[in-house]
């Protein structure tokens, strides 16, 4: 294992937690941290999250104890207590979430001792220990969810039929999180379900507090949100189902079938929805057929992204769009079991071709292996060569130099996305596939 990560494609647990809390309706994060953590996060979002910084209370608006050397030596609890009490006066929120940092986790400040008495007074305040050394931004998302499930969301006596929670998409670090969550919700609503996505503008704290009444939890990630689902199963007695992020028609069809099956929905009804959605998708795609074929818009692809995107994009490109995924790099830190799930998923493309799979988060290593793959297919037959062209790199902004070297078009989808403005665009569901086709092809023909 390397002793460093080159330009990590995530930030720390605290950064992920800030993004997650900021995405909750009218929630106020309170950092127990030195003065720079929110600013670091704001610049990270500005440079990596498709120009989306903060939200209701994000960026440099986030309150914090701004501890200094004095607190490192003598402890920071007194400062935190003052900060929290004054935050309740200055900030207008419905939920306050204290998030700790490297420094305060190392010095061992007992944050619960500040938060618990306030909660006992009826104030909606929780905390999560999110010191950056504990892990990356995806962990921060998990830790906030865990804290919500453990302390904020009450147990429900009865479950509501057809009510589901959706997890597995980390705000900000899935740059298209708003649109992706909305896309999942729209899909599930077709099955007549009521969907709690927690983090979109259409969610509410009231809805989140009723998460304990869900009939089912749906995790749309092979990696993220599993722990939350486990906790919810243990604490709230809610079963869960896991799916790969559904991008485009094939994956959405699988997703609807899986969910329908797990929830015991009438099969004929589910199949009817699937038929309608596929018909709609292909009717919308139909007018592109001329140009798609005439302009020779099929591409060899190098996919680079986190586990959610790398797999979902590859499956869409291979199974739906008829492109040729050659290499897939997964940039998360994954254990063996997680890796084998991904390998299995990528080894079952309908084209029968299995791309070269790279588990590595290091841009130089990824670029090296992708180039090696491309070079090895260059051929040495004089003027009759069969190289991997035309090519496309779908990854993050960090992969632009690679695309340039391969002479490939490039689209940033996975974090960091520095060169696109993203508001509510999403790639999930049937429509998400169409959005992705628009973006990929618009990139290819930009100089037309």
């Amino acid at each position: 294992m390397s002793s460093f990560i080159e330009r990590p494609r995530f930030t720390c647990a605290l950064g992920g937690a800030m993004a997650t809390v900021t995405a909750l309706p009218r929630a106020i994060p309170i950092l127990h941290a030195p003065s720079g953590c929110a600013g670091n996060h704001a610049w990270t979002q500005a440079g990596g999250s498709g120009l989306q910084v903060g939200g209701y209370c994000g960026g440099l608006s986030i309150p914090g104890s701004n501890i200094q050397e004095n607190e490192v030596v003598f402890g920071g609890i007194e400062r935190l207590e003052e900060q929290v009490n004054n935050t309740l006066k200055v900030m207008d929120g419905d939920l306050y979430v204290v998030l700790t940092s490297c420094v305060t986790d190392i010095i061992g400040d007992d944050v619960a001792s500040v938060v618990r008495p306030l909660r006992e007074q009826g104030i909606d305040i929780i905390h999560a220990e999110t010191g950056g050394f504990k892990g990356n931004s995806y962990l921060g998302y998990e830790l906030v969810l865990e804290s919500l499930l453990a302390t904020y969301i009450p147990k429900a006596e009865t479950k509501k039929k057809g009510y589901v929670n959706v997890w597995g998409i980390a705000p900000s670090f899935d740059v298209f999180w708003r649109g992706n969550l909305a896309g999942i919700r729209i899909l599930l609503e077709k099955l007549g379900l009521t969907v709690n996505t927690f983090f979109t503008v259409d969610d509410s704290l009231e809805g989140i507090r009723s998460a304990g009444a869900a009939e089912f939890n749906i995790v749309v990630s092979d990696i993220l949100g599993h722990k939350a689902a486990e906790i919810s199963r243990e604490v709230h007695g809610i079963p869960y189902v896991v799916s790969t992020l559904p991008i485009g028609p094939s994956a959405s069809t699988d997703f609807l079938r899986t969910v329908g099956g797990e929830l015991g929905l009438e099969q004929a009804f589910v199949e009817e929805v699937i038929t309608q959605e596929n018909r709609r998708y292909y009717q919308l795609l139909e007018p592109l057929t001329d140009c798609f074929n005439d302009m020779d818009l099929q591409r060899y692809v190098a996919v680079i992204g986190d586990a959610n995107y790398a797999v979902a994009l590859t499956r869409f490109l291979g199974n739906d769009l008829g492109w040729l995924p050659e290499t897939v790099a997964i940039t998360d830190v994954l254990d063996e079991e997680e890796q084998s799930t991904i390998v299995a998923s990528l080894s079952s493309l309908t084209s029968g071709i299995t791309p070269k799979i790279i588990f590595n988060g290091d841009s130089t290593v990824i670029a090296g292996q992708v180039k090696e793959h491309w070079t090895s297919h260059q051929g040495k037959n004089g003027k009759y060569n069969n190289p991997l062209t035309p090519a496309f790199v779908i990854g993050s902004s960090l992969d632009r130099p690679l695309a340039l070297e391969l002479g490939a078009a490039h689209l940033s989808v996975s974090f960091p996305v520095a060169n696109r403005a993203v508001i509510d665009r999403g790639y999930t569901g049937y429509s998400g596939g169409l959005r992705l086709i628009e973006d990929l092809i618009s990139t290819i023909i930009i100089n037309r």
């Binding site: 990590p8 720390c12 990270t44 050394f133």
Partner: protein, 495 residues
């Protein structure tokens, strides 16, 4: 003993008695020398902002053929994703091709926190040296090594003879200083200690043939602004070494051959300028920031005076000012009497406020990120050019104070830093960014370009006005009704 003989530079709250918590009015500031009588206050409520690592990265990531090796948790340094646009553009403007900055993280984890991270750092340095063969590896400490006691200086010293790159330890432990301008000292410290030494190859560098000045830029100017200052200096027959941003490591030592060093922002540069004076006897000017009409002229005068070019400079100033003032006429009717709130690093805030007064705006509030002695004269200048007294805030951001103030002083336009304009925007106020390396701010041309942008923003502020009707800032009614400086403790000036 010189500061440069220490491993770490002193923090600015000690070295300069710099402060960050103060609320009052311009008259308080201009009439009192704050340095001597303001023990820095504390806030009972604070918002998080940035630490010294962020501006330090802005400098380090620009250096060609360098690698920034962050020694810290995986999040420290991720702000470089945001800074990278400036690095790409900076490279493109100077050498014709966009190029990303190179940075890496040792990503210290729980095991490292318990067992120490020095071994990992050693390994990383060796690997980075091999992989990139850079001229410089900045070995940067975040908070974690500062607490667990990793000795980045010791590691660098041990490994220096084994690697090809020069190892530059840089201390950016965020909890150690609340004055993020300490960042400039931290990077200058490392550059001075390693790159500005009398090695054989450095001594072989050619000496300049023309009178040459060191023009300091710690990343507060983009290439467009450097070009404007070079244009003015060239008109006086002077060449410029620009340092440190985008300075090629192999030529950095040329600094020591200059006739004079000039700061372009006195908040930034005293630490290195003092070093160059003490070690290489290079005189320096740390006065005036060349933003605004009067200040650009004053800045030029001070440089010209050093070289005995008084006549030439007066001719240059007269012709530049005449041409600029004529060009600005078309904007003046819209500007006259419009209220403006200015927020930035201390010197930039003040010189920009002075420029806005020159353009006919009424300055209704200024927020400086910190205060130290270098800006005293600027407060006097601002007091002279403005008619009425107005609120002045010393705050390391703290947008809650700003939101409260904006609702009181009701500006027509707000000028703030990157990630610092949203508060005003969500209150429906037009804004113009006060610093962005892609835009022009400096010199006569900068004054004109800023005026153009202000005119454009004031002509159609619909984006902000619309958003303000539908979104709220996260502050309570109780807070808006409080004194904007209510949470500053020890805020009153004694005596």
């Amino acid at each position: 003993m010189s500061n440069f003989e220490q491993k770490e530079p002193p923090r600015r709250e000690h070295r300069l008695s710099a402060c960050i918590a103060r609320g009052g009015t311009l008259a308080d500031m201009a009439n009192r020398k704050m340095k001597c009588c303001i023990p820095d206050g504390e806030r009972g409520f604070t918002q998080n902002s940035i630490c010294l690592l962020l501006p330090a990265l802005g400098m380090m990531n620009s250096i060609p053929n360098s690698v920034v090796l962050m020694h810290g948790a995986v999040g420290c340094g991720s702000s470089a994703h945001g800074g990278n646009a400036g690095v790409r553009a900076g490279n493109a403007h100077r050498w014709g091709a966009a190029k990303d900055g190179t940075w890496l993280s040792t990503a210290l984890d729980e095991t490292d926190v318990i067992c120490g991270g020095e071994d990992k750092l050693e390994k990383a340095i060796r690997e980075v040296d091999q992989r990139f063969s850079p001229l410089i590896i900045f070995v940067v400490a975040g908070c974690v090594p500062g607490i667990i006691g990793d000795d980045i200086d010791g590691v660098a010293e041990r490994l220096q003879s084994e690697v090809g790159a020069k190892l530059l330890p840089v201390h950016c432990e965020g909890f150690k200083t609340k004055i993020w301008a300490t960042a400039y000292d931290a990077v200058y410290h490392a550059l001075g200690r390693v790159m500005l030494q009398d090695t054989a190859e450095n001594l072989a560098l050619p000496k300049p043939k023309k009178p040459t000045v060191n023009l300091m830029n710690v990343s507060s100017m983009g290439r467009v602004d450097e070009v404007e200052l070079e244009r003015l200096l060239t008109a006086l027959g002077l060449d410029a070494n620009i340092f440190p941003v985008f300075a090629k490591p192999e030529k950095m030592y040329s600094m020591t051959h200059a006739d004079l060093s000039i700061s372009t922002c006195p908040t930034h540069d005293d630490y290195l300028l003092t070093y160059l004076k003490e070690k290489y006897n290079i005189p320096y000017i740390i006065k005036h920031m060349p933003i605004g009409i009067g200040n650009t002229s004053e800045w030029l005068r001070s440089v010209a005076e050093f070289f005995g070019l008084q006549t030439q400079v007066e001719e240059l100033i007269a012709s530049e000012e005449a041409e600029l003032k004529k060009a600005l006429e078309e904007f003046k009717p819209l500007f006259t009497g419009k209220k403006v709130f200015v927020s930035a690093g201390e010197f930039r805030a003040l010189s920009t406020a002075i420029l806005l007064a020159e353009l006919g705006f009424e300055v209704v509030a200024v927020r400086s990120y910190h205060h130290d002695e270098f800006a005293d004269e600027e407060y006097d200048k601002l007091a002279k050019i403005t008619v009425k007294d107005f609120p002045l805030s010393i705050a390391n951001c703290q947008p809650f104070e700003e939101a409260n103030l904006i609702r009181r002083v009701k500006p027509d336009i707000f000028l703030g830093h990157m990630n610092g304009n949203a508060t005003a925007a969500k209150l429906g106020v037009a804004t113009a960014v006060i610093y962005n390396v892609g835009l022009q701010f400096v010199g006569y041309q900068g004054a004109y370009q800023l005026a153009r942008r202000l005119h454009r923003q004031l002509t159609n502020p619909n984006f902000n006005q619309n958003i303000s009707k539908w979104v709220n800032l996260p502050y309570s009614q109780e807070w808006y009704e409080s004194d904007p400086f209510a949470y500053i403790k020890n805020g009153e000036v004694e005596g």
